[in-house]
Amino acid sequence: MRKTWIATYLIFLSLTSGSLGQVGDPSESVATLATSSEPKAVLNASLKLADILYRGDAQTVVQTRALLSQQLVSSSSPLVILRVSSVLCRKATPEIVAAVVQRLEQERSEENQTALWEGLVRLIDRVQLWPDTQSRLLKLARAVVNNRSLSIRMVSAATMVTAQLGGEGFDALLEARNKNPNVADVFYTAIAESSDVRAVGLLREAAADTRKTEGMRIQAVRGLGQVLAARQEKGQTLENRELELTAGLLAKLVAEAPSDQFFSAALRSWNRVAGRTQLIAMRAAVLEALDSGRPIREEAGLDVVYDNESLQDPEVINKVVARASAARSGAARAGAAAILEHRLSRE
């Protein structure tokens, strides 16, 4: 009988590769990433490589990076370029980014160029670039963001990259937005992620500017929440005055929102910026959203309750419980369920 159990257990172990797969040879996973079209195989390979990059010994990590970098600089498949960038992004190095920049300088295929730019958005996120790489990348980026004949997809990715290239990148974007309308599509999102302090003023200005399209304003409103989160992530703070001005503006925009989508973006950003002194006003706005009967507002209200535990008092939670079953939108029901699941996990 014991033998039966052991056999069953061995089968069980072999079937559950699980999240803690053995750290081992990365070659097979890299090959799967580069060739497979089977979603589960790609995902498992990706998780396995993540495991290796996180938990492997120094030699294995170096070997894995080398294999992935090789794919990045040689693959002719845009999908593989994106896949590999995605795996490498949290453990990228200045060498890898330099190699990608070098390839970008020589790449002729527009599809591959686009994939490389999109990959770079992820790759440079946490890497301190070499000065030479940074200046070459800035030169390439300028050429793309100023070129109105390139696809919006490539321009958007290059805009996001440019925003991460420090003060010079920021300046390049300010210049490009007047030349290329395609930059405007993600301009405020990009500068919000730049964590450049100059972004805050620009975003506030755009968010308040009723002459701008609603889409632009929403992007700026969302960016105000994002810029603070990005700065916090990098250990940078914002002056109190800037915070107060921003929170004040967002509170006003929540009250005067011209549409549900605008309200939704403003409420979410306000929640990221507001201090405890605005908790009462925030709670009132959230309750109004939950009672609105309008799916987009409900969903935003629930997202804010999920993020902000200070708002989870009995009255609010009762409304959340009701939304979990009665909300019309699936997203709102899922949001309510997530709040309840989160609370359960703490009990």
């Binding site: 589960k40 004949s149 997202d303 939108s329």
Partner: protein, 426 residues
């Protein structure tokens, strides 16, 4: 001795005593056996002339063991616990004499393990080990749970001295649960495979069609490559951001982590909740909706300017006609990739866990990024739409088929071209 049960009853049930029949006895090697263990029964027939067959029957089981030659020894495994389990030997003779019988009682003692074998991930579950038969006091229970090579243990000294022990906590990881104890002087153990049931977290996918004014009037005039439409993330406008909420490339705002502090899964971290979603919008270049554009292209576009706009709309959304998970529109392809091709990251992160919180963060980000890459690449691919889709194909009955005019910049301003240009990028 034709009625051995009478004597057995007389001597009571707890002490299994070989029945001294006139000509048949049955003697067990052990009077108390652990559940799953074995005992050997020796049947003696005196005299043994004409013995044709000896059969041994076990209470609660239908198939007897049989022997036709000496020695009449029977080794049997007892998988079901029972006190006073009667084992009966039946001797048949070739001489035609009637069968003889002899019986003996033994105790088979073990543990039972009850509890959910497929508990919902993250929900509290309790597992109970109890003496079998019930009511036998146990002084110590030794529990273990093995998952992914990690073994959690718990020793219950059972101070109240009853017959059971409970190990409970939230369950998040599949594994093998075991409990062992000494019951009535016999070591017993029991095990259960626990397979966690997923919580069922399908990601919500929404799209606001033709959501806002987009594009600039002058763009199509000055830039022949000005896009006609876009399908993008609703708030950030970034096309590649399929899954939200996020901080740039970090998906930490979309989920919460919890650790298990008691029970079999103590020490494991898991994704306790998740608000990941897809929130897209489509936008159509506002200039192609104007009368000026319609007038300039009145003879160009088949079947007409309004249909041209409709074709752009369908291309960004769900093809023609509007079909959920259509190959022919960007939104349809997002739905298809997520719902049909297994790229729903919320379903994947639901089942992730680790002993290390940073490792779990890494895995979750990786899983979402991997899915996003797949979904985005599939959704952005227009090859199928150009080749097959009725909303923008190459055949004459395709919406928007033919050509359209462009505003060309000349020496003295601009002018509309002939109907020579095919559809530009979307």
């Amino acid at each position: 001795m034709r009625h051995p049960g009478t004597i057995l009853t007389f001597f009571g049930c707890l002490m299994p005593i070989p029945v001294l029949a006139a000509n048949v006895t049955i003697v067990p090697s052990e009077s108390t056996i652990g559940q799953g263990g074995s005992a050997t029964f020796t049947v003696t027939v005196v005299p043994d002339t004409y013995v044709q067959r000896v059969s041994v029957f076990y209470e609660g089981e239908s198939a007897p063991d049989q022997a036709f030659t000496r020695p009449f020894e029977f080794t049997h495994q007892f998988n079901s616990a029972m006190q006073d389990l009667t084992v009966t030997a039946v001797v048949s003779y070739s001489s035609g004499a009637p069968d003889d019988f002899a019986s003996v009682d033994i105790d088979v003692i073990g543990l039972t393990l009850t509890g959910p074998s497929s508990p919902l991930r993250g929900w509290p579950s309790g597992f109970t080990a109890r003496s079998n038969p019930t009511g036998l006091p146990i002084s110590q229970f030794n529990w273990s749970f093995e998952a992914e090579g990690v073994v959690n243990t718990f020793t219950d000294f059972n101070v109240d001295g009853d017959d059971k022990s409970i190990w409970s906590g939230k369950m998040v990881v599949d594994g093998l649960l075991k409990c062992s104890a000494v019951v009535g002087g016999v070591a017993a153990d029991v095990a259960m495979l626990v397979n966690i049931a997923p919580r069922g977290w399908p990601i919500s996918i929404t799209c606001a069609p033709d959501n806002e004014d987009w594009g600039d009037e002058w763009a199509p005039k000055l830039s022949p490559e000005a896009p006609l439409g876009v399908n993008r993330d609703r708030d950030s406008n970034y096309i590649s951001s399929i899954f939200v909420p996020r901080n740039g490339n970090n998906f930490r705002p979309a989920w919460t982590m919890a650790s298990i502090t008691c029970g079999p899964n103590t020490g494991w971290y898991y994704v306790s909740s998740c608000t990941l979603k897809v929130r897209r919008e489509t936008c159509i270049n506002k200039y192609i909706k104007t009368q000026e554009f319609a007038d300039a292209n009145v003879n160009c576009i088949y079947p007409g300017a309004a249909e041209f706009v409709q074709a752009v709309y369908n291309h960004e959304l769900r093809g023609t006609p509007d079909t959920y998970m259509s190959y022919e529109g960007h939104q349809g392809r997002i739905e298809l990739a997520i719902r049909e091709f297994g790229h729903d990251p919320k379903q994947v992160v639901e089942g992730l866990y680790s002993r290390n919180p940073l490792h779990l963060e890494f895995l979750v980000d990786e899983a979402i990024s991997a899915a996003e890459t797949q979904v985005f690449f599939f959704a952005a691919d227009e090859a199928y739409m150009r080749a097959y889709a009725p909303n923008w194909g190459l055949s004459e009955d395709s919406l928007g088929w033919g050509s359209h005019a462009r505003w060309l910049v000349g020496w003295f301003g601009g002018y509309w071209s002939d109907c020579v240009y095919g559809p530009p990028a979307f």
